[in-house]
């Protein structure tokens, strides 16, 4: 009985958590493209104006970033200005929660058919590498190891701390700007 009563609250909490995580990740993707050359080397291969979306099906929370050129990504907080070029879609809110709460690695979620790719698969592979690099930077190593297939052996603490601080600072600034706007 209690479980039944709590269910809507749990669902609401999950939805809010996933929505918040997408907002953080969207801003963090923009930030990492500004501070990390390796990420820019990956994103430079995307066409300029390329729109990438992660969404929970059918109309759940989403994040959208655009490649604005030279590997730089821009987070679109108000939705896509035009149809997206590549969409990675979680089939259900529960699946998104499993991944974004680091209970299931992104690669495992793909293997488990939790997500669909709509668009060029090779670019989806590239964006997955960017997401993995982001998670390796901004999450504590113990948590990151639960999120990515393999924690990068060449990512050492000083580089990680410095990059993470710069990314978090940019994310916080972006949030403040959003509130002010």
């Amino acid at each position: 009985m209690l479980v039944k009563r709590l269910q809507p609250m749990v669902s609401h909490a999950r939805r809010s958590y996933v929505g918040l995580m997408f907002q953080v990740m969207g801003r963090a993707l923009q930030a990492i493209s500004e501070v990390d050359e390796t990420t820019r080397n990956e994103t430079r291969a995307l066409p300029v104006g390329f729109l990438f979306e992660m969404q929970v099906m059918p109309n759940g929370p989403k994040l959208i970033v655009e490649h604005t050129g030279d590997g730089l990504l821009h987070y679109h907080r108000d939705g896509a200005p035009r149809p997206v070029d590549l969409s990675i879609q979680f089939k259900h809110m529960t699946h998104a929660f499993l991944v974004l709460s680091f209970q299931e690695k992104t690669s495992v979620a793909f293997a488990n058919d939790r997500m669909l790719v709509d668009g060029d698969v090779s670019l989806a592979v590239r964006m997955t590498r960017v997401l993995n690099r982001l998670e390796s930077f901004i999450l504590p190593k113990l948590v990151a190891e639960r999120a990515v297939k393999e924690y990068p052996a060449n990512l050492h603490l000083p580089e990680k701390l410095l990059s993470a601080a710069r990314i978090y600072l940019k994310v916080a600034t972006n949030f403040v700007e959003t509130v002010r706007a």
């Binding site: 793909f110 939790r114 669909l116 790719v117 709509d118 668009g119």
Partner: protein
């Protein structure tokens, strides 16, 4: 609580064994199809492989209304449109694809056009676009390796744009796959070897990659066992009908396994090498398999060790210490490749192919990193990792 989860799907009726072709008329009638069209290539027709298919239908009073026998090795949107025109003109109501991967993929794409309408196959490209079942579609494979008869994917080249269009939908799966040993009896030795190693790679990667599951495991291990037991016998005695059937079944089983568990780095490198150096897919699979298994070894030690039972049999398996079984599995695959090299010079290294330049390795590695199958490789692969595997495979 476990987070384990998997999906498994294969609705294809498999009709396999002696006189399997003679079941086609009955199976077509069961789907209310009376005017089938055959889609094939010139090689299949020249080898006389259409004759038993046509005879099987005619003996049951079923007329093959149209035959298109000009499918190229890399089928294109134009070919698909042309075949659809013939299908409509002749008022056909079903398709029988007879051939290897290209004829089968073409049959799948034609089925989209004639079922959904229109002349532009490109607009159906992508995943999940199709929403309805298509026309009755049968596949008669003439090679034992691709497993295309049980996969829900087709690749067609868009000549104008110069890109390969992928089509993915469970509706692309044929209603039936007809596995008849007569269809592979005349395969030349090097194609027999390369396609069987393609099936071996499908099964091995299916058994060791991230999306492996209990059902795909069952198909994968059975396929590995059949290839291990029959390939060299068939190479020594090409007219061995039993061995040919075993390889054909192994190919289908491996196809069912990998289409439900996906594949990994062997395929990523193979796809890139095929695109850049134009090497046949099966050859690439055979070439890269041991090197990729060595690269993945510490992530797949347990399942790879289990494969030794199916590669070498219970005696060798039980005589090998558990800690050495994974390495023994790789050795077994290397031994098989050596035996094939001795019999038909199936290349074991990139240098032996004579078609790859050392200067192309970097381009192959870069392209492989963006291949979809790399997502399911058990180990993360960097550019340096891919290059080191390629250098080991070089010579």
């Amino acid at each position: 609580m476990t987070n384990n989860y998997y999906e498994f799907f294969c609705p294809v009726k498999v009709i396999a064994g002696k006189a399997a072709l003679e079941h086609i008329p009955y199976e077509l009638t069961g789907l209310a199809a009376k005017r089938p069209m055959i889609v094939t290539d010139k090689g299949v027709r020249a080898a006389g492989l259409l004759d038993p298919v046509i005879a099987a239908c005619e003996e049951s009073g079923l007329e093959i209304v149209a035959i298109y026998d000009d499918v190229p090795p890399d089928s294109s949107t134009t070919v698909v449109r042309d075949i659809a025109k013939v299908y409509r003109k002749e008022k056909c109501d079903s398709i029988i694809a007879v051939g290897g991967g290209s004829a089968i993929d073409t049959g799948k794409a034609v089925n989209i056009l004639v079922s959904e309408g229109g002349d532009d196959i490109a607009k159906y490209s992508g995943a999940g676009i199709l929403k309805h079942p298509l026309k009755p579609f049968f596949v008669v494979p003439t090679t034992a390796g691709t497993g295309s008869e049980v996969t829900s994917v087709a690749i067609i080249t868009d000549e104008k744009k110069g890109v390969k269009l992928p089509f993915t939908s469970s509706f692309l799966l044929p209603n039936a796959a007809i596995i008849d040993p007569r269809m592979t009896l005349t395969l030349p030795p090097h194609i027999t070897a390369a396609t069987a190693m393609d099936a071996m790679t499908h099964a091995t990667e299916a058994f060791t990659c991230m999306a492996k599951n209990p059902l795909s495991d069952a198909y994968a291990t059975a396929a590995v066992k059949k290839v291990s037991q029959s390939l060299l016998q068939v190479m020594d005695n090409p007219k061995d009908e039993h061995g040919r059937l075993e390889l054909a079944q192994a190919s289908t089983m491996a196809g069912i396994a990998f289409s439900n568990s996906m594949v990994g780095l062997v395929h990523s490198l193979g796809h890139a090498t095929g695109a850049i150096c134009h090497l046949p897919h099966g050859l690439c699979m055979s070439l890269y398999l041991p090197y990729v298994l060595e690269f993945n070894l510490e992530s797949i030690r347990e399942p790879l060790g289990e494969l030794l039972l199916y590669l070498e049999g219970p005696e060798v398996f039980s005589a090998t210490p558990a800690s050495r079984r994974a390495e023994a599995s790789i050795s077994s695959i290397r031994k098989l490749r050596d035996a094939l090299y001795k019999r038909c010079q199936l290349p074991r290294t990139l240098k032996e192919t004579g078609k790859v330049l050392e200067s192309q390795l970097e381009a192959i590695a870069e392209m492989a990193l963006d291949d979809g199958s790399i997502m399911f490789n058990p180990r993360e692969v960097s550019l340096d990792d891919a290059l080191s595997v390629l250098r080991r495979a070089w010579a």
